[in-house]
Amino acid sequence: MNVRKLLGAALGALLLGSGAAAADTVKVGIIGPFSGPFALQGKNFQAGVEAYMALNGKTVKGNDVEVIYRDLPAANPAQARALAQELVVKDKVQYLGGVYFTPDAMAITPLLEQANTPLVIFNAATSAIMKTSPLVVRTSFTTAQTTTPLGKVVIDNGVKKVISVVSDYGPGIDAEGAFKKAFEAAGGQVVDAIRMPMNTNDFSPIMQRVKDSGAEAVFAFLPSGPTTLGFVKAFNETGLKKAGTKLFAPGDLTQESDLPALGDAAAGMLTTFHYAVSHDSPENKTFVEAASKAIGNPAELSFPSVGAFDGMHVIYKMIEATEGKQDAAKAVDAVKGLSWTSPRGPVSIDADTRHITENIYLREVTKQADGTYINKEIQTFENQKDPGLAAK
């Protein structure tokens, strides 16, 4: 019967193994999907963080910055809370960052006030998160933010009737709503709205629906990853592309790390998004160089890296303002209204919503001379706020 005690002690030895804190080291806990189905996005978090620290040093005003990574492979609020609690209570981090999924962010925000810790979200893209705590800052985007400009783009392309096809989950439904609102405001008509189950492998029946609807174009939203490949291929193989039906989507569908696989199938697709790896600016050139080095394989670089890069910028500014002392409210106040030039272009933190204001770009999937594909920016919508927050 003493075995359970022994086991407990053994486990204790394992858990306590991670050492104590040094005196003036500021610790930052990053929670992200570093393994499992979304490992690619987690890897991009890490690349963004490491790129920032490589370019800007590992000390802020004499305080060493130490990053602790914690893996949260899929949306799991209970685990998110446990990880955040451990980072705050045991590892004594002063800042929390990362977070890929909305429910995980929702589970962490109630802890922030007691923990006296700001949370800088690198991805989780639902508008409502910002309202759950005054200590949250977000450097990514919301689905409504990246989707809304598309309404006008579609009209400008001479299309009046569109069928909306989205994955049946939170962000998909957000995208459907945001697009419908923007497109109808611009004078278009959404003839049919289809929500597909998340685990759809064969998209042919969906394409048949598109064909039947008589729409001139498709608005699509799918989470970035394996299913986008099947979707785009089915769009081509069923002859829709050939028949002249156009495909519009937010940039999740054509993230850079999927482009080598999508290849020719996606060529000519128009998407709107906040960041393209090919963005032409000196800041981005420096960033891509550093991030490619951090990630190892440049082909794996994608949008979460820039969210993480700017997230670290915000955290560094917070450390600067508080001089390494733990004061969450002061830290967040210090970055309200902060503006800087990010690799994605000029950005600022909205003082009211603490969400990032940024340019949204219209991009076309283009084949380059060396045979690789990029998202080529062809139009800029400047200083876009999150319409999802404004509406509510």
Binding site: L15, Q85, A128
Partner: protein, 337 residues
């Protein structure tokens, strides 16, 4: 999956006998381990609370798999029902008292268990397993679909649970949540020990070993098994409610195939049919996973896989069976310390 799966001899030997002293020693061990957890890892209480919630799920799975021989890859249906019911009651129904929420979770879990048992008990073996998968997938879809009530993939957030007995708050440090969970676990475990050693529990084990003979003895199989499903559902529902209360968010992961599969892995890892194995499996699996994923957040899955393979090779009866091999530590000696 089939009824004829051979039992480890020691487990079989311990069946059908009541050992009040041994049970007392078992509770003492759980309470000691729980207290040790509280004092050894005061900074990891949220993790320990999560382990307790999942341990309740694994316990509930042991009831149907270990005691009735019904393998299930959909046990999270009941866990999720409990979690979402507690979430609804709190967010939409305005119930904030934690004990009431646990009760709500238990009732919802039991109801889910009733439905699930009624469907699953019509089949055997592999078909039964696939039925359980289909049910949990349907549950998952439903939770995703009714997003205006469940929050869908964004999760049901905003559970503000009032302090336990009006005094102890569920806060950042998680002491209340942990101790609350520990007490729930001990109470549930005590009740389950009583259930499995009651004539009803013995009958269930009889059905697991030879349903035909039990039928020939004049007992009806279906209602007995269904009753166990309802009990199992209530236990899983308590676990779900505990997770909802301590996390304050209910996500789609709480009613997923992944969670169900993890629970089955933990159960087989710990050892079937003794309740202790369920606890050991949950603690070892989640503790190991937590440790290696903190050690290397990027490539820890390989190590977890290696652990599972190693256990199959070294202790095919589950980790609990190892205890029996160590002289002086076996559960059989537990009654005379």
């Amino acid at each position: 999956m089939t009824q004829s799966a051979p039992l480890p001899a020691t487990v079989a030997a311990s069946f059908g006998k009541r050992h009040p002293l041994r049970d007392l020693a078992g509770f003492a061990a759980i309470i000691l381990a729980g207290a040790a957890g509280y004092f050894l890892f005061p900074d990891n209480l949220a993790l320990l609370t999560r382990i307790i919630a999942v341990a309740l799920l694994v316990l509930s799975l042991d009831l149907v798999t270990g005691y009735c021989g019904v393998a299930s890859l959909g046990q999270a249906t009941m866990f999720g029902a409990g979690a979402y019911a507690a979430g609804f009651a709190c967010v939409h129904g305005g119930v904030t008292e934690p004990l009431t929420l646990v009760l709500v979770g238990a009732i919802a879990g039991a109801a889910a268990g009733l439905v699930m048992g009624a469907i699953m008990l019509r089949a055997h073996g592999l078909a039964q397993l696939v039925l359980s998968i289909a049910i949990v997938q349907l549950g998952h879809e439903a939770a995703n679909k009714f997003s205006s009530y469940t929050g869908g993939s964004d999760g049901l957030a905003g559970l503000s649970v009032s302090p336990l007995f009006g005094v102890f708050e569920f806060d950042l440090w998680g002491r209340t949540a942990y101790l609350f969970g520990l007490v729930l676990l001990v109470v549930v475990f005590a009740l389950l020990r009583f259930v499995v050693s009651s004539p009803f529990g013995v009958l269930c084990r009889g059905i697991r070993q030879d349903p035909v003979r039990v039928k020939a003895m004049g007992a009806s199989v279906f209602p007995v098994m269904l009753k166990m499903f309802v009990i199992s559902g209530a236990v899983a529902g308590v676990g779900g409610a505990l997770a909802a209360i301590s996390t304050q968010v209910v996500g789609l992961d709480s009613i997923s195939f992944e969670l169900s599969a993890n629970a089955l892995v933990m159960l087989v890892l710990g050892g079937l049919g003794s309740l202790y194995g369920a606890l050991i499996g949950a603690v070892i699996f989640m503790g190991f996973e937590h440790t290696v994923s903190a050690y290397n957040p990027f490539h820890w899955l390989t190590m977890v896989g290696a652990l599972l393979v190693a256990v199959v090779l070294v202790a095919p009866g589950g980790l609990a069976s190892l205890l029996d091999k160590v002289p002086g530590l076996g559960r059989r000696e537990g009654g005379k310390p």
